[in-house]
């Protein structure tokens, strides 16, 4: 099993959710986060006072998938979240040792 953590532009969330549902994934966790990468921040001006805003609003999606599905899921996210502009985000894939569904006690792939 793999944990896919994707940081995307907020307005791309719905497209990514749809793409992951289309390949058969049944759940995900979404968090509103702030951060920056090469995009750095942007400048805001309030009555002439300029503020360099370094942390931009992003969406973090966390989804755990069976190892066999990893590539397909990553590909789906990339396809849906890509605008080609700076600031599209990043995807991290990491191993997951164990999964447990609390209600039934099912574990690992059966619990996904």
């Amino acid at each position: 099993m793999k944990l896919i953590t994707a940081i995307i532009k907020p307005f791309k969330l719905e497209e990514v959710r749809q793409a992951l549902t289309d390949i058969g994934l049944q759940g995900m966790t979404v968090t509103e986060v702030k951060g920056y990468g090469r995009q750095k921040g942007h400048t805001e001006i309030y009555r002439g006072a300029e503020y360099a805003v370094s942390f931009l609003p992003k969406i973090k999606i966390e989804v755990v998938v069976a190892s066999t599905q990893t590539d397909k899921a990553v590909e789906a996210i990339v396809k849906a979240a890509k605008t080609g502009q700076i600031g599209d985000g990043k995807i991290f894939v990491s191993p997951v040792d164990h999964t447990l569904r609390i209600r039934t006690g099912e574990s690992d792939d059966a619990a996904l």
């Binding site: 805001e44 001006i45 309030y46 009555r47 002439g48 006072a49 503020y51 805003v53």
Partner: protein, 500 residues
């Protein structure tokens, strides 16, 4: 001729449509009869009373939701309740002070000190009944005094609430409340008295008529009685300065006090190093919109009657404001690259401030020009001059209210000119009982306006400095640094604005 110079200095707050009134003392009967303490009857109109009650509630709308939201959106989350409470609680307090002694100190004759302050004859609203009359700007037309009391109460309540924007996010609640109680007493009531207190059209007509019947200014005794009647007014009023709805009394007055507060209390902790962007421009936009709606009560209500001049004030309050909002937005678009929402809202408020003294005197095209000038000059002050000088007038009370008020006060002196489409300066004494337009003299009028501005700047500037020092000694102006960092919502009020 001495009489004419007195007439010219007879600046008043509004030209009322006195078309219905006849020369002499016979006036068109109203549908409302008022009776003073001596049993004399006065005529009024229910339509005027209806409008004044509505206008009073509209001015309340400016303060509690309007100003509180406008300011609230501009501070950081941790100080949202603090700024709203400073506006809301001070408003409540001033309302009580107003009926205790404020109205009396503002709108009665102060005897030997009458040039500067009223007296105590109506403390606790002594002698005021539902049928007590008060003069309007038309001969023979009266309002119930009680509606005038509450209308003017809302003015006294909003003015100190404007000041707190100058030192938002860093003044203790107790200090703000004590300062405002002292400030309205020592500064607002006297300035309002100086600018707005006078005997009324019929008192002036009666004095002029008595003088004419006694043989004119050559009769020394009659002349002395006439002069005494003219002197039953405040100092700035005697100078002939025009202020329709409070450019000096409200905006310059509060604006300079806000600046003095910003300088004496000092900058916010972290000012210039930490980011302090507005926490909700949505609320600021809502607040600015409510201010504009409420401002019709403020400006149009200041006419005291629902007539043609009232409608002129309404038109001007629309167009000057729209012009100022656009002017600020456009110059910002050119200079800073983007037309911002806060810029538009700031321009709208600057336009409202500038048209306040002018709204019943200027013509509509004059008001548009006034709005454009106010939008541009206030933009330069708020975005350029303030940053260059480095003081922390947090919510731009000085740049918008004081500068906008000065533009409006001086602009009124120009735009009242009938040759430029203005309504002209009213003259109640040349033909007693009849309202005519006095000859316009630009130098005289600009001098009078300038003196009114200077008087307000000095009285409020110096007076506020003394009061801030006094409050600092008694309760201390600022919270300790840690409390300021934590936010005044928690440290002053024990609450958070947002729990989610």
């Amino acid at each position: 001729m001495k009489l004419s110079s007195t007439m010219r200095s007879a600046g008043v707050l509004g030209i009322a449509a006195a078309l219905a009134c006849l020369a002499g003392t016979a006036y068109a009967a109203g549908d409302l009869t008022l009776v003073d303490a001596a049993g004399n009857q006065y005529s009024g109109f229910k339509g005027d009373v209806t409008w004044m009650m509505t206008a009073t509630v509209l001015v309340l709308l400016m303060t509690a939701p309007g100003l509180a939201l406008f300011y609230g959106g501009l501070v950081r989350t941790k100080n949202m309740l603090s700024i709203m409470m400073q506006v809301y609680a001070s408003m409540c307090m001033v309302m009580i002070l107003w009926v205790l002694y404020g109205y009396s100190m503002t709108f009665t004759n102060g005897g030997a000190l009458n040039d500067y302050i009223g007296g105590f004859s109506k403390v606790l609203l002594a002698g005021v009944t539902p049928s007590s009359p008060v003069a309007t700007f038309s001969n023979g037309v009266y309002l119930p005094e009680m509606v005038y009391i509450v209308f003017q109460m809302t003015f006294a309540a909003i003015t100190p609430a404007l000041i707190v924007g100058g030192f938002a996010e860093r003044a203790k609640f107790s200090a703000v409340m004590l300062f405002i109680a002292l400030w309205v007493t020592c500064i607002y009531f006297p300035i309002a008295h100086m600018v707005w207190y006078w005997g009324g059209p019929d008192a002036w007509a009666a004095a002029a008529k008595a003088l004419a019947e006694a043989g004119g200014p050559d009769n020394a005794e009659a002349k002395a009685a006439f002069d005494l009647a003219m002197l039953d007014s405040g100092k700035v009023f005697q100078w002939g300065a025009l202020d329709f709805a409070g450019g000096t009394v409200v905006h310059i007055n509060a604006g300079i006090a806000g600046l003095v507060g910003a300088l004496l209390i000092g900058k916010r902790v972290g000012f210039g190093r930490e980011q302090m962007p507005p926490h909700s421009l949505t609320m600021t936009m809502i607040g600015a919109a409510l201010l504009w709606v409420g401002w019709f009560g403020f400006n149009v209500g200041s006419n005291l009657e629902a007539n043609g001049t009232a409608v002129l004030a309404m038109v001007n309050t629309f167009v000057a404001t729209a012009a100022a909002g656009l002017a600020w937005m456009l110059i910002e678009w050119v200079v800073k690259g983007k037309p911002s929402a806060l810029g538009l809202a700031s321009g709208v408020v600057a336009g409202l401030v500038a048209v306040t003294p002018a709204c019943g005197f200027s013509g509509p095209m004059g008001a548009v020009i006034l709005g454009i000038v106010a939008g541009i000059v206030c933009f330069v002050f708020a975005t350029g001059v303030k940053n260059a000088l480095g003081f922390d007038d947090s919510l731009d009370v000085f740049s918008v209210h004081c500068i906008g008020g000065i533009i409006g006060a001086l602009g009124t002196g120009l735009l009242v000119n009938p040759d430029w489409g203005g309504a002209g300066i009213p003259d109640y004494v040349s033909k007693p009982g009849e309202l005519i337009v006095a000859p316009y003299d630009m130098m005289f009028q600009l001098t009078a306006q300038g003196k009114a501005v200077l008087m307000t700047l000095l009285w409020s500037g110096i007076g506020s400095a003394i009061l801030f020092k006094l409050v600092d000694i008694i309760v201390g102006l600022r919270p300790v640094t840690d409390k300021e960092r934590e936010g005044l919502d928690i440290t002053d009020h024990g609450e958070r604005a947002y729990n989610y």
